[in-house]
Symmetry: C2
Subunit: 205 residues, 2 copies
Amino acid sequence: MAIAESAPSDGRRLRGDRTRRAILDAAARLASVEGLEGLSIGRLADHLNISKSGLYAHFRSKEALQVAAIRTADEIYTRDLVIPAMESAPGRDRLIRFCDLFLDYIRDGPFPGGCFFIASTIDPARARQPVRDALADVQSRLLGFFEECVREAQRSGQVSVQLDARQMAFAVDGVLVGADLNFLLFRDPGYLELARSEVRRLLGA
Amino acid sequence: MAIAESAPSDGRRLRGDRTRRAILDAAARLASVEGLEGLSIGRLADHLNISKSGLYAHFRSKEALQVAAIRTADEIYTRDLVIPAMESAPGRDRLIRFCDLFLDYIRDGPFPGGCFFIASTIDPARARQPVRDALADVQSRLLGFFEECVREAQRSGQVSVQLDARQMAFAVDGVLVGADLNFLLFRDPGYLELARSEVRRLLGA
DNA sequence: TAGTTTACCGACCGATCGTGCTATCTTGTC
DNA sequence: GACAAGATAGCACGATCGGTCGGTAAACTA
């Protein structure tokens, strides 16, 4: 719904949609390395072998491109991490599965600069409000997902009800963020394994 | 040792040293917002009311400025966080004290963009090797400090010896990084309090 | 076939980037 | 007072930034 709403018979729009998708995929990948602000229109166009003005025909401003890239990254993470994690049982298993997938994704996923959202969250001090809002929205939903997993795990007795579910969700988020940053800095996958152990320890598994 | 090694009687060098220090302080502050790469010589000079070339006379390249800014930030953190934390008893108390000081620093400290090093660690994908190395060195020492605190806490029986000290240090680092990022994104000090509780919970206090 | 819509391009704009070169002050030594 | 050293400024460079404009080719509609 977000991107394609044209008549499928129109070859012009089909071509445009394909281009737009290619731009957004590349933008999300590049932004994980350069950050959302550091992402430059010129370099992005070069990388796609199209002209800057051709790219600009699809997004009226850099800000519009940034917001669309955030939505694209969100869709990619949902497709590759959230939905597969949903196949695991609700609660602890699901949360651990998500974390494992995320840690794999840092090393082998399509984002060469580590997690797209962590790279983008640093920039927002400079970013304009719509960009900040889009990022905050994604992060809210992520923390909510974690918290719901913890609550479900508490309902089923896997995790002590003494623990604050919100705080546990925050702790898990911290482990993943720490893994991303330390792996980026040291290029040492050991931190990903450390994170894997720590998530299990946190959840008493 | 790092900066001033001139004869204290020479007014010329005194003036230069004062300027250099002012540049580095402002650079560290600005870099916490813009990142080390996003930090621009022109804006930095404007902010200090000096000319770009006047600034450039002190640092032969942007890279040299970046590395010097990292060293400066390191000194600031050592002065304001590490040394005060050293007044607390070794082990758990010292680590908790450091974390509390760090979380206060995010909100009220001299770095308006949150922790300087977290903001800078995102960029290094783009950064040149000397910059990466300087950042990795600081982070190594931080994790080492955490780990030593945990080990000492284990020696004195405050923390179970069953736990992996390296993993605990990593977990504490993750909580602090998560607090910084979530506070930056949501501008909600609640995440700092959440981090405070979580550090205590991790260390069994 | 004529006219319209859409995708895309080349050329260009003003601003800013990092970085040099050449003065010009100020402060020191003799 | 002559001279050197160091701090700082003025100016300009090539490159790149985000962004605009007029135009062309292709695809659709009538």
